[in-house]
């Protein structure tokens, strides 16, 4: 290996050209073939039972996410102007190509079914906008007494009314959103305000905002890293080449993705993050070694210096890269395709960074020359064995007070484990936005006035028993459960199912008497009410709550929050009814985007935890093999474990929820933790081979590897702290957590790992026995 690398030094220009030509090809591929995937449904594993069922249920009952357009008039909505706006906007939304006309619901489209003395009245609330005071008053009255409308389409304070436009999963585009906002804006007057909300809007905004923010922030991150690298490496050329390695590996990773036709998912934006954090490490270690060599041998030629660098460092560079890549490849165990791709292409990027560090970087040195040597004052008392007083003192200090490290680490780990108990999973999209952003405020506004902007669909399935959901005892249980969930949970604003229609019909057919707002006792009565509704109302409405053969029922719970806590609190109460339904031969299933989001987040986490454990085991085995020592393998896992545990612990204490992004971030703990450990261990082994003095070994390693590790940490932390100024909260969390991981990795490596190495006597025992 070393020979090949040295030979390649002779073909420095050729190596450079080949790498640059290949990069140009990948850039071309990216331009031609890169596609963004913003449809969140494409992220979900299509063959997972929960998704299969949900997708089926969505098509049975036409379950779609709704865009909610709220029309607000502080003077009340029952006036000609507001009602006219409602009518015009409803018609405008029905005309959108992206929206099916029948999927638009508002007070203008709704049927008003009311009981009269001698029968039943089915009317539109209004077709022509009422103009006289008397007619407006009448409309107001009819809305107030219809509980299928009041509180659902018109707020109880009568200042807000909504239009709900349900849309398919794949129709949301930025242009469509802009058009909606424009239409809404145009209808505003001094009195009338229009608000637009709903899950499609939130999802669409998120899919656009995250990457857009990243595009703005990443150049600043790179600039800061550049400046800090320049300061630490003391070399402009070196900085350019080190960053070049990172760029090239990112280009190759994305280029390969484009070439094989894999689209960019939201999680793919994490690939450059990983490569920046991990990729600069090799460069820093290589340059750090080169500096030390040049400082000690100012007369050496660049070929000698480069060869020495390769000789000492090709092994740790290969080892760190292979172990990191293995860590990422373990993400292939995830059921979520974007995560699999993330793991695979990050691993590819890491391996490419290794190739570039060993070929491109040396070729660069050969072409552009060595960094300047720093004069070393040999006479100065360094208080130890290395050339750095600071490193000597630090290493000696750590070893002398080794119990501080051990106890400190133990305490921190215990505290972190306590913190981890407080961790929670969040599949909320809304929580990813600023608390004072338009999208959050609108959502809050609508939730204050209506049942909720998020929904959970419970599908009751009698498994093929026709007319099961005409049976009064079944419907009564459904009704009871709905009321139970609605009453017990403040977060559930509304529930809706077939029972609401039957209750209403029963009341209407009994002269609108409130005591008949119940499920009747006879099955035939239920069947006849349903027939009557079909004949007089819009039968399409029933198709949304029950299937044709009355074998399956769709119950909608409207939630005021879209986070996992809200969904789970509703699920907890629903589950208490599961036994009763099972006894009736009915099974429970769930559907809808909120539920899928919850399952999806769980899947990601489960996959992440599985892959972390797997990669940790793989890494311990790999390191044990590489160093031919099992103890070393175990010791090397310490920085990883500490980094991961602290990261999760702090998330628990700070209330940062686990989400797709923050979960994936734990991969960085592995990637960086193992890099630091391997570089340090390899140096320690080399130094130990030349001396019997444990302290000298520790001090030299600290001066050499330790310095590089600190540089590495400072560079990346400085860069990622920039993300704290991001406008997109998840990107801020990302910046904070990457910085935290870098920090704990380096502290862990230089303290507790060193102590463990020292105490374990590896590399010294044998000599003593000899």
């Amino acid at each position: 290996m070393e020979k090949i690398l040295n030979k390649l030094l002779k073909f420095k220009w050729l190596s450079m050209l080949v790498i640059i030509a290949a990069s140009a090809f990948f850039i071309f591929e990216m331009k031609e073939n890169t596609a963004m995937e913003t449809n969140l449904d494409k992220y979900m594993p299509q063959d997972h039972p929960a998704f299969i069922y949900s997708d089926k249920a969505e098509s049975w009952f036409n379950i779609q996410d709704g865009i909610i357009v709220a029309i607000e008039n502080k003077n009340g909505i029952f006036n000609t102007e507001t009602l006219d706006t409602l009518k015009q906007l409803t018609k405008r939304f029905q005309k959108f190509d992206e929206i099916n006309k029948d999927d638009v619901t508002s007070l203008y489209t709704a049927d008003n079914i009311v009981g009269t003395e001698d029968g039943m009245d089915v009317k539109r609330f209004f077709t022509r906008v009422p103009k006289t005071e008397e007619k407006l008053k009448k409309l107001q009255e009819s809305v107030r007494i219809n509980e299928m409308i009041f509180g659902r389409l018109v707020s109880e304070n009568e200042q807000v009314t909504v239009i709900i436009a349900e849309i398919g999963d794949d129709v949301f585009t930025p242009e469509f959103y802009d058009e909606i906002l424009e239409v809404a804006k145009m209808s505003e007057t001094d009195d009338i305000k229009i608000h637009v909300a709903g899950r499609p809007i939130v999802e669409g905004e998120m899919a656009l905002l995250g990457p857009a923010d990243m595009k703005k922030m990443v150049p600043i991150v790179i600039l800061v890293i550049f400046v800090v690298l320049l300061i630490t490496l003391r070399s402009f050329k070196g900085t350019l080449i080190t960053l070049g390695v990172v760029f090239l590996s990112t280009i190759w990773a994305f280029g390969l993705m484009a070439t094989v036709g894999i689209p960019i998912y939201a999680v793919s934006t994490m690939i450059p993050v990983m490569l920046i954090a991990i990729g600069v490490a090799d460069g820093i270690h290589l340059y750090s070694h080169l500096h030390t060599f040049v400082d000690h041998n100012p007369q050496a030629s660049k070929l000698e210096a480069t060869k020495d660098m390769i000789k000492h460092l090709w092994k740790p560079v290969v080892m760190t890269s292979v172990t990191t890549a293995v860590g990422f490849i373990s993400l292939l165990t995830s059921e979520v395709y974007p995560v699999k791709y993330f793991g695979l292409f990050t691993a590819f990027g890491v391996m490419m960074a290794m190739v570039f560090s060993l070929v491109f970087l040396p070729a660069g040195i050969m072409i552009f020359g060595l960094p300047k040597a720093k004069k070393i004052d040999v006479s100065e008392d360094k208080e130890g064995h290395s050339h750095s007083k600071l490193a000597n003192n630090f290493a000696a200090g750590v070893i002398k007070h080794k119990y501080v490290s051990i106890i400190g680490a133990a305490v921190i780990v215990v505290l972190s484990i306590i913190g981890m108990q407080k961790m929670w999973i969040n599949s909320s999209f809304l929580d990813k936005f600023e608390k004072d952003s338009d999208i959050v405020l609108t959502d809050k506004f609508i939730n204050e006035n209506f049942g909720g902007t998020s929904s959970l669909n419970l599908i009751l399935d009698s498994e093929g028993k026709k007319d099961k959901f005409k049976e009064p005892e079944v419907l009564k249980l459904v009704d009871k459960m709905q009321k139970d969930v609605d009453n017990k949970l403040a977060v559930v604003g509304n529930t809706f199912s077939l029972t609401d229609y039957i209750n209403r019909m029963n009341k209407v057919m009994n002269a609108d008497k409130e005591e008949f707002n119940t499920i009747p006792d006879s099955k035939n009565m239920v069947a006849q009410y349903l027939l009557l509704y079909e004949m007089s109302g819009d039968p399409e409405n029933l198709n949304k709550v029950v299937d044709y053969d009355y074998e399956k029922l769709n119950i909608t719970f409207q939630l005021k929050k879209d986070d996992s806590k809200a969904i789970n609190s509703a699920l907890d109460i629903i589950h208490t009814y599961e036994d009763d339904f099972n006894k009736m031969g009915i099974t429970m299933n769930y559907a809808g985007s909120g539920y899928k989001g919850l399952v999806f987040t769980d899947l990601i986490l489960e996959g992440q935890i599985k892959s972390m454990v797997l990669s940790l085991l793989l890494i311990i085995v790999l390191i044990s093999l590489m160093f031919k020592n099992f103890k070393i393998g175990l010791i090397s896992s310490v920085p990883i474990i500490i980094t991961a545990v602290i990261s999760f612990g702090i998330m628990g204490f700070l209330g940062i929820p686990l989400s797709t992004t923050t979960a994936l971030l734990s991969s960085i703990a592995i990637g960086i933790g193992i890099d630091y450990a391997v570089h340090f261990l390899e140096q320690y082994r080399t130094n130990a081979a030349n001396t019997d003095d444990k302290m000298a070994t520790a001090q030299k390693t600290m001066a050499h590897s330790g310095k590089a590790i600190i540089f590495n940490a400072i560079v990346v932390i400085a860069g990622f702290l920039v993300l704290l100024f991001s406008v997109f909260p998840p990107n801020r969390e990302l910046g904070a957590l990457v910085s935290l991981n870098m920090f704990t990795s380096f502290v862990g490596t230089l303290t507790i790992m060193l102590v463990l190495l020292y105490v374990s006597n590896v590399y010294f025992k044998k000599k003593k026995e000899d």
Binding site: K101, G119, M120, K123, A527, Q528, S536
Partner: protein, 256 residues
Amino acid sequence: MKTLKLVTAALLIVASLGAQAQLTGREIVDKAYNIPTGDDQTSVLTMTLTNKSGQTRVRKIQQFTKDLGDTEKSIMFFMTPADVKNTSFMNWSYDSDKADDQWIYLPALKKVKRISSDSKSDYFMGSDFTYDDLGDRKLDADDHKLLREETVDGVECYVVESVSKDEDYMYSKTVTWIRKENFIGLKKEFYDEDEELLKTLSIKKLEEIDGIWVITHSEMENVQKNHKTIMELNDIKINTGVPASKFSERMMTRGI
């Protein structure tokens, strides 16, 4: 004299041919709307609804209709499914602009209730037919235009486009293929407010009973919702003298 007779006859033929050639869209539709149906009719209607998943609902209804000049009365009793058996429905529709009167009787409730509905575009018993589609539409609610004449499956037809005068009407226009032979429709296309095809009606079977043409099998398909309704008529009896007293609230509660 003989020649004169011949000339007169020839002229008459020419005149009638000319008259036929001059039929306007409106006249064609007027004839189609006014096909004799007899004074009363009794039949069993089987309605099969099929949704997009291929699930079906079959309903069998015994129905009676009677034309009382300015009023057309109908009464129907559900025979199946069992859970709605003897549910009955009565409709009085008027030639004047007066809205239909409708009653429903639910045997489980044991009460006759009036239903008032202001929407003429209401679907008939959950099917893909609206009341208008079933022949309740007034001639002058639309502007009719003869588009062309063509032969479909060997049947010579007029193709007439009818555009609604009311902009808010659920169909922007309909296109009807009307048989030249007897002015009974062959098929019809319904276009929604955005002028996109919404439904197609096909008349599959015609029977002449006691000199009256009756459509005995028709299919309406909503192409936007993938929903279909088949209507079949059996046991048709015409002009049997159904008494006017049959169409009362009391008779509704009696069952079949």
